[in-house]
Amino acid sequence: MVLENPFIPYLATLKSAVQLTPDVKLLRIQLESPAVKASFDYKPGQFALLSAFGEGEAPFGIVSLPRRSDGLEFAVRRIGTVTRALHELELGDVLGVRGPFGNYFPLEDYTGKNIVIIGGGIGMAPLRPVINKILEQRDDYGNLLIINGARTPQDLVFAPEFKIWMEAPRTKLQLTVDRGDESWGERVALVPDVVKEVAPSPDNAIAITCGPPIMIHYTLAVLRELGFKDNQIVTTLEAKMKCGLGKCARCNVGDKYVCQDGPVFTLEQISQFLEQP
Amino acid sequence: MNSGYSPKIIGFLCNWCSYAGADMAGTSRMSYEPNIRIIRVPCSGRVDPILLLKCFQQGADGVLVSGCHPGDCHYNEGNYHARRKFALLRDFLDYLGIGKERLRVEWCSASEGQRFVDKVSSFTKEMAELGPRSES
């Protein structure tokens, strides 16, 4: 008897791999089983565990929107052993997928609100489907402000989509980098400083942030300074995890499991248990 | 002792002397046992003991480390360090019951193709006589 085993990944095939930045690739994969494909429903903010067979498994936010693109998309930064193996996959190669896991951004609760999206580096990945979802149903939401930072202009992950974002109604995009180059005409500043400078109003607003832990730490402080309440600040966390099922006891932030209760949290939910970076 | 048995041997050869020596043996069409799989390293001093133990763990019967003759190291002293390290490691392998014979250390220069062949042959013969490692 073969049991439904939650550790067994679905098999999938790599359909395309686009180099987004020097170290980030956008991988589009197709689930092999039509039945699985049909039932694989997910929402912005959810993630999956990708298996590079022979290396292991790691969690990645799903950056596509369901039913909008053919297959699942992941923005993968080459930084460790699993991501290196994923980068080295060739088109048609088989990989494993488990998921979708975790909660999602409760976008339906944000209707009518102004949205501030603050992303740093590869932290933009889980925010991309949020932006696209808002743009898809633009009239349902208030103003959209996107603050996107990266180390260098080349590291801005979704640069090809900036034009669409900028041209959308009632949408503003603020870009910043740590180190510019000759052709860079935008800000050279740290993300939290840009948030301070742009000073979005907390009135009827939700701030969503994702990025390196140190950026999140200071951004949260700035948002609080600007008057955002902890329940208006939403973040999505990254954590080492080995199961995605709330069993391996590794990814918790206090009493919350990133894999089950998260990865999306309001600051109100986790502020008590945040570790100092 | 075991007629069907053919020992697996891994050889770590330094780039400057022993690897060139093996090359010399090849270009001079000298023949030696095919049991050895050669890994080229910059210097015998670079060979970390964990590389050797990993070889044993993965089923190698014997490991050969070969570098420049003492005094001839391309990096002046790499093989002196290797000499101390492997003198100690061989003794330790013996103590652990793996056997010091299974780790062979040789010095062989770029011009000593024949010496390389002789050493590989004698080592292969010795390993064949010793037989497989009990657990592999």
Binding site: - | I50, Y80, R84, A87, E135
Partner: protein, 288 residues
Amino acid sequence: MDSELIQQIRNQARDLLESGTVKGVIGYERASDGLTARPAFVYELAAVERLIFDETCTHNLVIYLRDKKAEKMAIVVKPCDSRAINLLLNEKQIKRETLFIIGVTCPGVVETSWNYKGQTLQARCQTCQLSKPLVYDFLVGHEPVEWPKAVPYLNVQEMENKSIAARRDFWLGQFERCIRCYACRQVCPGCYCPECFVEQLDPLWVGIRIAPKENELWQIMRAFHLAGRCIGCDECERVCPVDIPLSLLNQKLEKKVKELFDFQAGLSPEEQPPLATFKKEEKLGFEE
């Protein structure tokens, strides 16, 4: 328990804390069994009275210096432990000026575990020839008048005299029990790598299996990384939850290092460690 010696330690600790010379004192206090000792960190004057010293103070406190590099600490050091200080000074892991060493003379420590205090001295104490710490700022206690007379390395010789197959069986049997808890590493003053090879992922040397092959690779490499560096505190063996005789590995290497290179770790803060140096003329048994 030598109450005079304990009083000396407490007085010294009090002076150091009061004068602000050190941020804290690393010493010993009574364990929760009311019988044996455990490491103690004292930062406040009120806590000085917790400090003790007796024959159950087996821990080598020098390991804690790796976590306390930022501030000056005082540390209670037995003669054997002082070799670890020399080792770490030699390997530039600690700075002498951020340390205040309260050296204690030591009549030896006994076998202990939680709620158990043995009657006989630990094996290492039976061959110890150090009357007082090799390095200290303040010395408490009296130097012993009698020296242990046991012959060192008897166990190692016994193992060496076994057949190669018997040695193999013995060690495989021991390593098989290992659960890779890494207590032996964590308690070792010589094991301070920020990332240990056994946990390195890239390259993956060992792998995560808790199984004979992995255990063996781990155990052999652990011991060998301490070749010419092990200072013989035997703490690894004491903490091993499955009783693997780790000192039998360490002592073998210590014995061979002595034979080949006439060196013992931790006796001096300056002498070049044997695997960091060489003599051109030595052959070490290899044909040239």
